[in-house]
């Protein structure tokens, strides 16, 4: 007799309903998109898209923008998360400051983007690459800050004392203890921001001017401006594959050490 009790059918439903929802709203459209892209000329369309230098250039440009955005967001979020977690003693103050950093996440981005456009114009950064990156960092900061902060919070404070008693100054302790122990959080933040910024098109479109022509923008144009559904679908499908591949490698390697 099997020692594991069979899962009660009512509990299966708990997982089955959301699963059906995801299947219907994500995986099914993905297949429809794939079918759409293969309809006119089969796989040869993919060969065409892959070796089209214009598309490849836009793909590369989007990847670079995603890397720049992710790195900038990381550099802004790291000191903030470090300060919040290790140098704010009072718990109430800590949660208030954390809220101040993350509340913008709850406001619709379109509203924030128009506000930001004004600020960027005043600074003369409207429609520049830098202005666009500022906008990207602004949008994604909470997604980097929260995982960093929560993994800093999980670092056993006793370990910092142990490092100190072994002769480590705070920068040694940070590099040798805090950072390695926070790798899972860093990996989540980086993966999250990279994936979202790679396919982002609203921020580049609104704030980037001529610099804003990214993969997301191109797909948007192909679908809605040129009505070229097969090529749009093929590109969208490839971008999704790249994202899924990143998620796959993240879950295999990105989780850091196991306790």
């Amino acid at each position: 007799m099997s020692r594991r009790a069979p899962l009660p059918s009512a509990l299966v439903l708990l997982a089955a309903v959301p699963l059906a929802y995801v299947l219907a709203t994500f995986y099914l459209p993905l297949l429809v998109m794939l079918a759409e892209s293969l309809k006119p000329q089969g796989l040869s369309l993919y060969v065409y898209v892959l070796f089209n230098p214009d598309y490849a250039a836009i793909m590369a440009y989007s990847l670079v923008l995603a890397v720049v955005t992710t790195a900038s967001t990381f550099l802004v979020a790291l000191p903030a998360a470090y300060y919040l977690s290790f140098h704010v003693e009072d718990e109430k103050r800590k949660s208030r400051l954390l809220a101040a950093f993350t509340v913008p996440m709850l406001v619709n981005f379109l509203l924030k983007a128009y506000a930001l456009m004004n600020v960027l114009s005043v600074l003369g950064l409207a429609n520049t690459y830098l202005g666009m990156v500022v906008g990207m960092v602004y949008e994604y900061l909470p997604y980097m800050l929260l995982p960093l902060f929560s993994s800093f919070e999980r670092v056993e404070r006793r370990l910092l004392e142990a490092a100190q008693a072994l002769g480590a100054r705070s920068h040694h302790t940070f590099l040798r203890v805090v950072l390695p122990l926070s790798l899972p959080g860093i990996a989540s933040g980086v993966a999250l921001v990279f994936l979202m910024s790679f396919t982002e098109f609203i921020v580049p479109a609104m704030l980037g001017g001529v610099y804003g022509y990214t993969m997301g923008y191109l797909i948007w144009d192909l679908f809605l401006k040129y009505r070229n559904w097969p090529v749009g679908s093929a590109l969208a499908f490839m971008v999704t594959l790249v994202s899924l591949a990143i998620v796959y490698f993240y879950t295999r390697w990105g989780l850091g050490y196991e306790a």
């Binding site: 100190q164 072994l166 480590a168 100054r169 122990l181």
Partner: protein, 360 residues
């Protein structure tokens, strides 16, 4: 071979709240000699860990100074003190191997890697962990006792002049604990590092220490060798903390306590108590009550009733009633206690010189 420092604590006070409990040290002064194995012993909340953290430099005292070899280190941060520390929960780095845990302080000190490896081999040998077998294991792959050895090796790696241990063995089985304590003692002799060991366990402290300090409520009650503190406790708290003891209330009149045939002159303890009149406490260790009359005279014979016998292996605890309304506990070799039946009347012997008297 590293030589230890002399540690002097001068009038150190500290008050703070930790998880709702007020921790405090009140004017603590003591000196730990060079190369000594010194224990700080006391119940939880007595301030012993606070004192250790102040010695490590992880905590600043409100008042008072700390000296290492006569040099004031009160304001020296932990990372600049020549210390090694073993924490109660060990605080080993979970993301590093045994090797990298041990080499941590050496890497920071900028040692070249061949010297580091030599030293890691040395220290692992010192704590009896074979290098080939353990160096590249993860911390999570070690038993509690092995983790303990790694923590000690890590603390000793850079040859500290002061080793601080905060109840490091408290979560281990008795057998492993005793084994590690003996090894710590051997290790300390071999390295000559001044060692301060914080514990609430009197057996550990007595087994381990050259000298020890007993603390209560942030105040040092007594400093001495385990034998001094056990045999001549400074007060009733120390007496009862260091071992089981019969505490008997009595009254002194003109410097003499008389109780059930027992007669003790207080001037034996202090000449200026010759005329003391007032309440006193008599303290008598259970093993000072014997079933056989001791050689020589001066022993007082008490006729008592054996109320209960508790078998403890080589010794048997006897609960005795019927002497001056006091319930006495005695500890006798089981061989001698065996023939006695509960309920029977027995004669026991007490030497007056074994009785300690404290003003109440």
């Amino acid at each position: 071979m590293s030589r230890g420092v002399e540690v002097r604590v001068e009038n150190v006070s500290k008050a703070f709240r930790d998880r709702g409990v007020t921790q405090a040290l009140k004017g603590v002064s003591l000196t730990v000699r060079r190369g000594e194995l010194f224990s700080i012993l006391g119940p939880s909340g007595c301030g012993k860990t606070t004192l250790l953290r102040i010695l490590a430099g992880l905590l600043k005292p409100d008042e008072g100074r700390i000296f290492f070899d006569g040099v004031d280190v009160t304001d020296t941060p932990a990372y600049e003190r020549p210390i090694g520390m073993v924490f109660q929960d060990l605080a080993l780095f979970p993301h590093l191997s045994v090797y990298r845990n041990v080499s941590f302080s050496l890497e920071i000190a900028g040692w070249p890697s061949d010297r580091i490896e030599k030293r890691v081999r040395e220290v692992l040998q010192l704590v009896r962990l074979p290098f080939e077998e353990f160096a590249h294991r993860k911390i999570s792959q070690l038993s509690g006792g092995q983790q303990q050895r790694v923590a000690i090796a890590r603390a000793l790696a850079r040859e500290p002049k002061l080793l601080l241990l905060d109840e490091p063995f408290s979560h281990l089985d008795y057998k492993i604990r005793i084994e590690l304590i003996r090894e710590l003692k051997r290790l300390q002799r071999d390295t000559g590092v001044t060692t301060i060991y914080v514990t609430h366990d009197r057996n550990e402290a007595m087994l381990l220490s050259d000298r020890l300090a007993v603390m209560k409520d942030g105040v040092v009650q007594q400093v001495g060798t385990p034998e001094e503190v056990y045999r001549s406790p400074a007060n009733a708290f120390v007496a009862s903390f260091m071992g089981e003891v019969n505490i008997i209330s009595a009254r002194a009149v003109n410097g003499v306590v008389k109780l059930g045939g027992l007669e003790i002159s207080l001037d034996r303890f202090s000449p200026n108590l010759g005329n003391y009149t007032g309440n006193v406490l008599l303290l008598l260790r259970p093993e000072s009550i014997s079933l056989a009359p001791p050689a020589g005279d001066g022993a007082l014979k008490l006729r008592v009733q054996l109320a209960e016998k508790l078998f403890l292996g080589p010794y048997t605890k006897l609960l005795l009633e019927g002497w001056e309304d006091v319930r006495l506990e005695a500890l006798a070799p089981t061989r001698e206690a065996m023939p006695l039946e509960p309920g029977s009347v027995v004669d026991v012997y007490v030497e007056a010189s074994e009785v300690k008297v404290y003003l109440d």
